[in-house]
């Protein structure tokens, strides 16, 4: 979308809407676990990352602290539920990294949000914790002054 076609939005409202989408994904995962505390942050959309221009809401978070099997089945549950809950799956399968993490990329059907979900299962004895990492981003907009 060209810069001049980008809509003007109330940044706070977009941030809240993005956080609501994250909450929805958490519900669709259907599990209890520890959640990172975070809010959606404004992030540049434009190529030059400059201060005048378009931005989007960017919300990275993860759920962890449960056994690997629970994480894996939650990921499967999410895959099933997303298409029935206003999301379109764009891509799924191992991501392009050495870890080959199972990944789901989805866009909301109203074309306002994208989500990137990755499952990271650590072997027993690892000092890292298994988790599901979720990043929800909003469509680009211009900030309402």
């Amino acid at each position: 979308m060209k810069d001049f076609e980008v809509p003007v939005r109330d940044a706070e409202k977009v941030q809240q809407a993005t956080e609501r989408k994250s909450s929805q994904i958490m519900e669709l995962l259907g599990m209890k676990g520890k959640l990172t505390q975070s809010g959606a942050l404004p992030s540049p959309c434009s190529e030059d990352g400059s201060e005048s221009g378009t931005l989007q809401a960017y919300h990275p978070w993860s759920v962890y602290g449960v056994p690997n099997e629970e994480l894996t089945s939650a990921m499967g549950r999410l895959r099933e539920r997303l298409p029935k809950n206003g999301w379109r799956i764009i891509k799924e399968g191992p991501d392009g990294t050495a870890s080959k993490a199972p990944q789901i990329v989805a866009d909301s059907t109203d074309k306002e949000f994208s989500a990137d979900i990755r499952l990271s299962v650590e072997p027993a004895g690892s000092d890292k914790t298994s988790l599901i990492e979720v990043t929800v981003v909003s469509a680009c907009f211009r900030k309402q002054k």
């Binding site: 940044a11 706070e12 809240q16 520890k34 990172t36 505390q37 975070s38 809010g39 959606a40 942050l41 404004p42 992030s43 540049p44 959309c45 190529e47 030059d48 990352g49 400059s50 201060e51 005048s52 931005l55 989007q56 960017y58 990275p60 978070w61 993860s62 962890y64 602290g65 764009i90 891509k91 991501d95 392009g96 990294t97 050495a98 870890s99 993490a101 990329v105 989805a106 866009d107 074309k111 949000f113 994208s114 990137d116 990271s120 890292k128 914790t129 988790l131 990492e133 979720v134 990043t135 981003v137 909003s138 469509a139 680009c140 900030k143």
Partner: protein, 597 residues
């Protein structure tokens, strides 16, 4: 100040009072932190709307009030301790003289005169009579008294005169100390309105300057900071001070304490916040005092010919540059304050590790998200061309400060059970534009400064936890050149400068191979920048910012080449998100999660 006053004066009472004010400092500091990191943060994290905004404004004012209390009580505490130390020698002198008099069965009168009994060899069957000696500090009078004592058959006179003279000296010295300190203590009386204004903060800065002069001798007795100023030496010095001494240095020299690499982060933060508030007060006052720009800028010299008016030219020559500098500095200060105000809406506590609007030409600002002294993973981000204090938090996405905040959130998400700290480091004079960026002098100066900061980081972490954090240094565009020079600046500590180095949009790092950066193999990561400055990268190559024309995204450099494109994703995922994720993977030691090209 007279004999009775000095006799009953207890320097320890002043030290106790200083302790009381110090307790007030601690209380105010805790409260101000609680307001920012607790109450306001929670409010921001959960409520929105006009009422919440109004409440946050009030809280901001309250925080400022407590900070002012902290600053001023710190100065009062130091002043009282310095007064007590200054008056102690006089007090001791007086007490010793009185003790000597009493030991000889003399009496000391309320004015300090010393009465002595009859004594000596009998003359005409009578003891030489006693009397009273009045002390003096005047050398001529003393000489006369000595002569008189020489003639007097009563040996007590000489002793009594000596005691009385010592008492007189003590009172004179104490009077001088009293006269020196009374005005300073009176200055520290606060006005009685509830608003802490720019004038109040500017005043606090003046109070501090005045006290530095007055307390000079007291401070000389305190152990002075080391001259060679390595982070290790600084840390050793700080940790050897008593809590009172630390409080005194913090109160009187926040600008120096805030800039000392190796000191604990919470101490540097405390110091720099004081500098921030005081400077803002001073700069705002100065700006308010500048007369408005004359409306008539031009005058006609004839038909179709105009020139600048004399009035405008005079204003320009006197004020324009200073006004721009003040406004730019205040803008940067506002950006820093705005970051403090973002704590709680998805962001951790902020630590101002460095601040000086006058440093490096364009200002210094070093700001951490999360405490680096206790972090498991620390990232230090070095911005590139055009970076300056006034722009540090510019725009809807908060500029360079915002980048570090997003990196923090992404890293925390990737390593939820670890403590993360991301630092924006601007402590070098960044070139203003690409042509200037081709000059290596900027990085030649910036590199060693960065190295010292990183060494200081390590030192502070060691003192705090006994171990070190995994450290990643991230250089964007010209910042990466500074990073390259830093790796080759003599570090005070053994070992490599960092565990991992990430460079984005690098025009060259002044080395031609990753191995020359001194890191373990496989720990140098290079990516093109989201803002795709091929011009910078290739331009840097051509003017030799990379040795042998090699820049880090060349395969021959030997670093990991990290994916920067986002085509493999969906609509709104962009290069920024890809780059953030890859940087976070390195920062959190999740190397298998990095997308390589």
């Amino acid at each position: 100040m007279d004999f009775t006053t000095l006799k009953s004066l207890k320097p320890s009472a002043y030290e106790d009072a200083a302790g009381g004010y110090q307790a007030a400092v601690a209380m105010a500091s805790r409260t101000k932190d609680e307001i920012e990191n607790g109450i306001a943060a929670a409010l921001r994290g959960s409520l929105r709307g006009e009422a919440a905004e109004a409440a946050l404004r009030e809280l901001g004012q309250l925080r400022k009030n407590f900070h002012y209390i902290q600053i001023e009580c710190g100065l009062v505490s130091t002043a009282l301790r310095a007064f007590a130390a200054d008056v102690l020698p006089a007090k001791r002198k007086l007490d010793a003289a009185v003790a000597d008099a009493v030991a000889r069965a003399f009496t000391v009168g309320p004015g300090g005169s010393v009465g002595y009994p009859a004594a000596g060899a009998e003359v005409d069957g009578r003891l030489p009579k006693g009397g009273a000696a009045n002390g003096t500090t005047d050398e001529t009078a003393r000489a006369v008294n000595r002569q008189a004592a020489g003639f007097d058959p009563n040996p007590n006179l000489a002793y009594a005169q000596d005691c009385a003279d010592r008492i007189a000296s003590a009172i004179e010295e104490a009077t001088a100390v009293d006269r020196k300190w009374a005005p300073h203590l009176r200055r520290l009386e606060a006005d009685d309105d509830l608003t802490v204004s720019a004038a109040d903060l500017a005043d606090a800065a003046d109070d501090m300057d005045n006290l530095r002069g007055a307390a000079a001798s007291y401070l000389d007795d305190l152990k002075a900071p080391p001259k060679d100023a390595t982070p290790e030496a600084n840390a050793a010095w700080w940790h050897a001070l008593t809590p009172e001494e630390q409080a005194d240095y913090l109160a009187l020299f926040p600008d120096r304490v805030g800039a000392m690499d190796g000191l604990p982060s919470d101490v540097r933060d405390e110091a720099n916040r004081t500098v921030l508030d005081e400077r803002r007060g001073r700069y705002q006052l100065e700006l308010d005092a500048i007369p408005p720009e004359p409306a008539d800028r031009l005058r006609a010299l004839g038909p179709d010919v105009v020139a600048y008016s004399d009035e405008w030219l005079a204003w320009r020559d006197k004020y324009k540059d200073r006004k721009e500098h003040l406004e730019a500095s205040l803008k940067g200060m506002d950006a820093i304050q705005a970051r403090f105000d973002r704590t709680g809406s998805g962001l951790p506590e902020a630590y101002l590790l460095g601040f000086d609007p006058e440093a490096n030409g364009d200002g210094r600002v070093i700001l951490a998200n999360g405490n680096p002294d206790t972090a498991d993973h620390t990232a230090i981000y070095v911005p590139g061309t055009k970076s300056k204090l006034s722009r540090i938090g510019d725009g809807d996405t908060f500029g360079d400060l915002g980048r570090s905040e997003r990196l923090w959130a992404t890293s925390q998400s990737m390593a939820p059970d670890r403590r993360i700290s991301t630092i924006t480091w601007l402590d070098y004079d960044a070139p203003d534009d690409i042509p200037h960026a081709t000059m290596s002098s900027y990085s030649d100066k910036g590199g060693p400064t960065l190295r010292e900061f990183l060494d200081g980081n390590k030192t502070a972490h060691e003192y705090s936890t006994g171990s070190s954090a995994h450290t990643t240094v991230i250089g964007h565009s010209y910042g990466s050149t500074v990073v390259g020079v830093a790796t080759r600046s003599g570090g005070m500590l053994d070992g490599s400068m960092a565990d991992d180095i990430v460079v984005a949009g690098s025009p060259g790092m002044r080395v031609d191979r990753a191995a020359d950066l001194g890191l373990r193999p496989g720990h140098v990561w290079a990516m093109g920048a989201s803002w795709d400055d091929q011009v910078v990268r290739q331009g840097g190559r051509l003017v030799g910012l990379g040795d042998n024309l090699t820049i880090p995204t060349d395969e021959s450099f030997g670093g990991n080449i990290v994916e920067s494109d986002s085509t493999d994703h969906s609509g709104f995922w962009n290069r920024n998100s890809t780059s953030l994720r890859n940087q976070a993977a390195v920062v959190t030691e999740n190397f298998e999660k990095v997308e390589l090209e």
